[in-house]
C-alpha cells in the first residue's frame, strides 16, 4: 500500500478557501439530495402515516405500523427478525473461517504475480451479479444438482440430500457471495501488521502456530471485527439469495418488506419494516467505520 502521505506537505490552513473547482460537487449534491436524502426521509414519513399523505386526505399520523411489528400477534415478524439475524450471524462466522486464511495468505505472499492472481480470484466473484451467483449454487445444491446426481450415480445415497430450499442452502450461497468482502477487509489489516514482529517471536523460540496465535492473531482482531460487521450488515439485507434458496423454510426481513410492497401493497408498513432494518444496519456500519478509522489512523502499525 502506498504510504506517501507522510512526505506530502499538508496544505497550510490559510490556503483553505474553496477554489472554483469546488463547484464541481454541485451535480453530485443535487443527485444525492433528490434521490437519496429526500427518498429516505419520505420512507421515514410514510412509516408513521396511515396512507399516502399526498393523495389521501384522510391519512393520519400513527404509530400503528411499528406497534404491529412490536405486538406481532401471529409471531411472524419476530420470527422473521430472528431468522434474519441468525442467518446473518452464521454467515458471518463461516465467512470469517474461510476468509481469514485467504486474507493471511494474500497479505503475506511474496510473489507479486501470485498476489494479483489471488486478488483477481477474490474480486471476480464479487463482480458477477448476485442473481448469477445464486443460480450457480442452485445448480449445485438442488435435488437434481451436481452434488446429488454425482452422489447418486456413485450409489452413495439413494435419494437426494435436502441441500436447498432451507437455511443450509441459503447460508452456503450467502457465504460465497460475501466472503470476498471479508477477505478484502482482512487483507488490508493483516498487511499492515509488521511481519518482523512474528519473525521476532519465531527467533525467540516460538513455533509457527504459537507466533501466529500470540502475535498476528491478536493484532488482527480489530480487522476481524470490522470484516464481520460488514458481512453481517450485508447478509441481513440480502433478498435474492434467501428468497431463491430458502424455499418456504426461510422468511427474512427483506423478504417481508418485498411481500408488503408486492403482494400486500402496504407501502406504509413496508416503510416501517424498512426503518427497522435501516436502524440495525446503520448501527453496524457506524461501528465498522469507527473501527477502520481507528486502525488506519494508528500510524504505529503502518
Amino acid at each position: 500500500m502506498i504510504l506517501r502521505h507522510d512526505t506530502e506537505p499538508m496544505p497550510a490552513p490559510a490556503a483553505l478557501r474553496p477554489s472554483p473547482i469546488a463547484w464541481l460537487i454541485a451535480p453530485a449534491l443535487l443527485l444525492f439530495v433528490l434521490f437519496f436524502v429526500l427518498p429516505f426521509s419520505v420512507m421515514a414519513v410514510m412509516s408513521v402515516y396511515s396512507g399516502n399523505p399526498v393523495t389521501n386526505p384522510n391519512a393520519f399520523l400513527t404509530t400503528r405500523h411499528y406497534m404491529r411489528f412490536i405486538v406481532d400477534d401471529a409471531d411472524i415478524f419476530h420470527d422473521a427478525l430472528w431468522a434474519t439475524l441468525k442467518i446473518g450471524f452464521i454467515t458471518t462466522v463461516i465467512s470469517l473461517l474461510i476468509g481469514y486464511p485467504l486474507a493471511h495468505w494474500m497479505a503475506r505472499m511474496q510473489s507479486r504475480l501470485g498476489h494479483v492472481l489471488v486478488l483477481m480470484a477474490v474480486i471476480a466473484p464479487l463482480l458477477t451479479g448476485i442473481v448469477v451467483r445464486t443460480f450457480a449454487w442452485m445448480t449445485i445444491l438442488q435435488d437434481k444438482g451436481v452434488i446429488n446426481t454425482t452422489l447418486m450415480s456413485w450409489g452413495l445415497i439413494s435419494k437426494p440430500l435436502p441441500l436447498m430450499y432451507n437455511e443450509f442452502g441459503t447460508v452456503v450461497a450467502l457465504v460465497h457471495i460475501y466472503v470476498p468482502f471479508m477477505v478484502l477487509t482482512l487483507t488490508g489489516v493483516i498487511g499492515r501488521i509488521d511481519e518482523r514482529l512474528e519473525q521476532a517471536a519465531r527467533s525467540l523460540g516460538a513455533g509457527r502456530i504459537r507466533a501466529f496465535v500470540e502475535v498476528t492473531l491478536p493484532l488482527s482482531l480489530p480487522g476481524v471485527l470490522a470484516g464481520s460487521l460488514l458481512v453481517f450488515a450485508l447478509s441481513i439485507s440480502a433478498y435474492v439469495t434467501p428468497s431463491l434458496m430458502g424455499g418456504n423454510d426461510v422468511l427474512t426481513l427483506p423478504m417481508l418488506i418485498a411481500q408488503q410492497v408486492g403482494t400486500s401493497f402496504n407501502p406504509n408498513f413496508a416503510g416501517a419494516l424498512g426503518m427497522i432494518l435501516l436502524v440495525v444496519c446503520l448501527i453496524i456500519v457506524i461501528a465498522y467505520n469507527k473501527i477502520l478509522t481507528r486502525l488506519t489512523g494508528e500510524k504505529g502499525l503502518a
Binding site: 477554489s19 460537487i25 444525492f32 463482480l127 450415480s153 488490508g188
Partner: protein
C-alpha cells in the same frame, strides 16, 4: 513443524508439511470461490436440462433459447440501455465530484466523502424501497429515467472511489510545476489533471456499467411488468425453472465481470482499487 527459526535462505527450502497444509487449505478455499462460476459455464454448454458428471456433450441450445426469446432479449436491451446511461451519468457526476473533493479545498471533506460513499453502506433494497415510495408519493409512477437515476446513485460511489484513488496517488507537484511554469489554473486542469485521472475515471465507468447491469435490489421495486431488467427477469424465471437458458444469460454477466477485472488491473491496478 520446522524446528529451526526462519533464516534468510529462501533457496533450497526442505519440504515443510505445515506450509504445504497451509497452501493446500487456501487452494481449497479458492476453489470454493471459483468452482461455482465454472459450473455455470459447464451448464451453459450442457445439452441436458440438468447437469450430470461427466458432461455428456456440448450444445448451444441454451444460448439459442436465450437469444431467441423476446422476453430475455427485451430485458437484455433494457439492461444495456440503462447501464449505458448510468455509465455516462455516473462518470460525469462522480468524476466531477471526486475533483471537487480532492482539489476544491472544501470544508468538511471527509464528511462529504463518507456521505457520497454511503449508498454502498446502506442496504440496496432500502434504497429501492425509499425511491419507490417517493415516486409513489409524487405520483410519477415508475419511469425508466427513475430507474436510471436510482442506478446512478449507487454507481457514483464506485467512480468516486477509483477516481479518488488515482488523485491520491499522483504527485501533486506535477500540477504545481505546470503552474510555476506559467500555466493558468484552467490550463493546468485540462492539460495536466484531467489526462492524469483519466484511467481512474474510466475504471469507475466500467464499474458503474457492471453495477447497473447486474443490479437487482435497487431495481426490484422500480421496474414495471413487461419493462424489467435482465436480473429481475432471470430472478422471476428462476423461481419456476432452472434450465440452461439462465446459465447462458449468466455467461454474459460472467464475461463482463472477467473483462472488468482485466480492464481494472490494466487501468489502475487492482491494488489501488482495494486500497480505498
Amino acid at each position: 513443524m520446522s524446528t529451526t527459526p526462519a533464516r534468510l535462505s529462501p533457496n533450497r527450502v526442505p519440504f515443510d508439511a505445515g506450509r504445504a497444509a497451509y497452501i493446500g487449505l487456501n487452494l481449497v478455499l479458492l476453489a470454493f470461490l471459483l468452482l461455482p462460476i465454472a459450473i455455470v459455464l459447464v451448464f451453459a454448454f450442457n445439452p441436458m436440462p440438468y447437469i450430470s458428471f461427466p458432461p455428456v456433450g456440448i450444445s448451444l441450445r441454451w444460448f439459442d433459447k436465450f437469444f431467441s426469446s423476446s422476453d430475455f432479449m427485451n430485458a437484455l436491451w433494457l439492461s444495456l440501455w440503462v447501464a449505458g446511461c448510468v455509465l455516462v451519468l455516473a462518470v460525469l457526476i462522480g468524476g466531477a465530484c471526486a475533483l471537487a473533493l480532492a482539489r476544491g479545498n472544501l470544508p468538511g471533506r471527509s464528511f462529504l466523502t463518507a456521505f457520497f460513499m454511503s449508498p454502498l453502506m446502506l442496504p440496496a433494497i432500502l434504497t429501492g424501497l425509499a425511491l419507490f415510495q417517493s415516486y409513489l408519493l409524487v405520483g410519477i409512477g415508475r419511469p425508466v429515467w427513475g430507474l436510471i437515476m436510482a442506478h446512478t446513485l449507487v454507481a457514483v460511489p464506485y467512480v468516486l472511489r477509483t477516481t479518488l484513488a488515482v488523485l491520491h496517488n499522483f504527485d501533486r507537484r506535477i500540477e504545481e510545476a505546470a503552474a510555476v511554469l506559467g500555466a493558468s489554473p484552467t490550463r493546468v486542469f485540462f492539460e495536466v489533471t484531467l489526462p492524469l485521472i483519466r484511467p481512474g475515471v474510466f475504471a469507475g465507468g466500467v464499474f458503474a456499467f457492471i453495477v447497473s447491469f447486474d443490479q437487482f435490489p435497487v431495481s426490484l421495486f422500480l421496474v414495471v411488468p413487461k419493462g424489467e431488467t435482465l436480473p429481475v427477469v432471470l430472478f422471476n424465471y428462476m423461481k419456476f425453472d432452472l434450465d440452461g437458458a439462465i446459465a447462458a444469460a449468466s455467461m454474459v454477466s460472467i464475461l463482463l465481470a472477467i473483462a472488468v477485472v482485466l480492464v481494472l488491473e490494466r487501468l489502475i491496478g487492482l491494488k489501488a482499487y482495494v486500497k480505498l
